[in-house]
């Protein structure tokens, strides 16, 4: 009997050990196969397209950095109020909200407004839990970093990494449409913040940046249009048509230059020497501002 038990334990260990060694690759392949088939059922296009288009369309860090570089003081009045989060009670609304409040968190982090971080990460955690991706949002660490006023870089790093993990998980679990909606939320809030800042300071750089959003918007609009079968996304695309009309009017011209390579402090730096000129009028800026306020406030109930 004892001998049999030993054999049984040994065999279990051998097969258990081997399966845990080898499974990772198989599971990953299986996940990709599932993802591909699911997307094919949803809409007919190369599944890699969404993945490719989604990279870095809207980065809250970059938008916040631009605002800060213009020496515009922090203003909590332009942020989405966290009291609205309870009203975001469907997957679509939570995903949009997740993007919007995520962009706000980037702005808050950039200005080191640690006292506000807790409020926003609590709200974002609620939205993440509602989307069943709360396990990827490291609330405990973020809370510790915020309350102890620890390194702001770590706070930004972890929050960005959490967002990327959630984005990746949604794609891996056949929920690419929600990942797309989150990106839309980030982009909407980024443009909203930029327009609010542009309305209080006279900055060619900010105006040009708003005009250059034509490029990100064009990618985002195409991305969302792929999921128009979803009535919520279809409505969002419809709401964004006004922005599309305005951005279609804006032109960007380019001058091509040869890139340079220099070594600075041991780091190789490639300097692009192309130039771009954005042609945007005050009227177009005003119309973009009005359109984005409408879209953003409809989504978060502002």
């Amino acid at each position: 009997m004892f001998k049999k038990l030993i054999y049984f334990v040994a065999l279990t260990l051998v097969f258990g050990g081997c399966s845990s060694c080898g499974n990772k690759g198989v599971d990953a392949d299986q996940e990709f196969a599932n993802l591909d088939s699911a997307i094919e059922e949803e809409v007919v296009f190369d599944p890699s397209v969404v993945q490719e288009m989604a990279e870095n369309v809207a980065s809250p860090v970059e938008i916040a950095a631009l605002i800060k570089s213009l020496k515009v003081p922090f203003s909590k009045d332009i942020l989405a109020p966290t009291k609205n989060i309870d009203g975001l009670n469907t997957s679509f609304k939570r995903a949009i909200g997740f993007g919007v409040y995520g962009a706000d968190l980037g702005y808050i982090n950039m200005y080191s407004q640690n006292s506000m971080v807790l409020d926003y990460i609590t709200g974002i955690k609620t939205l993440a839990d509602g989307l069943k991706v709360g396990q990827f949002f490291d609330f405990t660490t973020l809370k510790r970093l915020a309350t102890n006023k620890e390194n702001i870089d770590s706070l930004m790093h972890i929050s960005t990494q959490n967002f990327n993990k959630i984005d990746a998980h949604l794609k891996e679990t056949n929920r690419s449409s929600l990942s797309c909606v989150i990106v839309a939320g980030v982009w909407i809030e980024g443009l909203y913040l930029s327009c609010q800042v542009a309305s209080i300071i006279d900055s060619d750089k900010m105006n040009e940046s708003i005009g250059e959003q034509k490029i990100a918007f064009s990618t985002l609009y195409k991305m969302l249009s792929l999921y128009k079968k979803d009535p919520n996304i279809s409505e969002l695309v419809e709401d964004m048509k006004e922005l599309k009309t305005i951005y279609d009017e804006i032109t960007i011209s380019y001058e091509i230059g040869e890139p340079d390579m220099v070594e600075e402090n041991g780091v190789i730096t490639f300097k692009q020497n192309d130039k771009s000129n954005v042609n945007i009028t005050d009227d177009q800026l005003k119309r973009i501002r009005e359109a984005i306020i409408k879209v953003r406030n409809k989504q978060i109930g502002g």
Partner: protein, 147 residues
């Protein structure tokens, strides 16, 4: 006596299994952390996890991303020690090579490089492993500053 042999065999097996667990492979998250250390002083934006089989011509992984005018970005790559391949990252605009972690002219490998971006647009990243070896690596994109 037979039982003793069996018990010793079982203990050896147990040790083997647990030792295997301890000497585990580097995770992709660990590689991202290492990339973060390489790109010190820059704010992490995105990571790209690359796992490619051996092949001739070398298999490639490609990504597109939007980069913004008047911004300095830092790209970094880290190879996993678990596979032999040494990764090369190349950054292109629509037509030209703008930056790379492997400068062919000098034969120099550099785990990081900066790009001063002067034109908002869609850019393309290409990753491959030298000599078409199999490899596991992570690349990161970080934000350095607005110019």
């Amino acid at each position: 006596m037979k039982n003793k042999v069996l018990i010793i065999s079982l203990l050896t097996l147990l040790l083997g299994v647990f030792a295997g667990g301890v000497a585990k492979a580097q995770t992709e998250d660990e590689l991202v952390e290492m990339c973060g250390m390489l790109a010190k002083g820059a704010t992490y934006l995105k990571d790209f996890k690359i796992k490619l089989d051996a092949g001739d011509p070398p298999p490639e992984a490609k990504y597109s991303l939007v980069l913004t005018k008047d911004t300095k970005y830092r790209f970094a790559v880290v190879n996993s020690k678990d596979l032999p391949g040494k990764v090369v990252l190349q950054l292109f605009d629509n037509t030209r090579l703008l930056g790379t972690t492997y400068v062919i002219a000098s034969g120099k490998d550099t785990p990081t490089f900066d790009l001063i971006c002067q034109k908002t647009g869609v850019y393309h990243l290409k990753f491959y492993f030298k000599d078409g070896q199999s490899g596991l690596a992570v690349g990161t994109l970080s934000f350095v500053e607005k110019i």
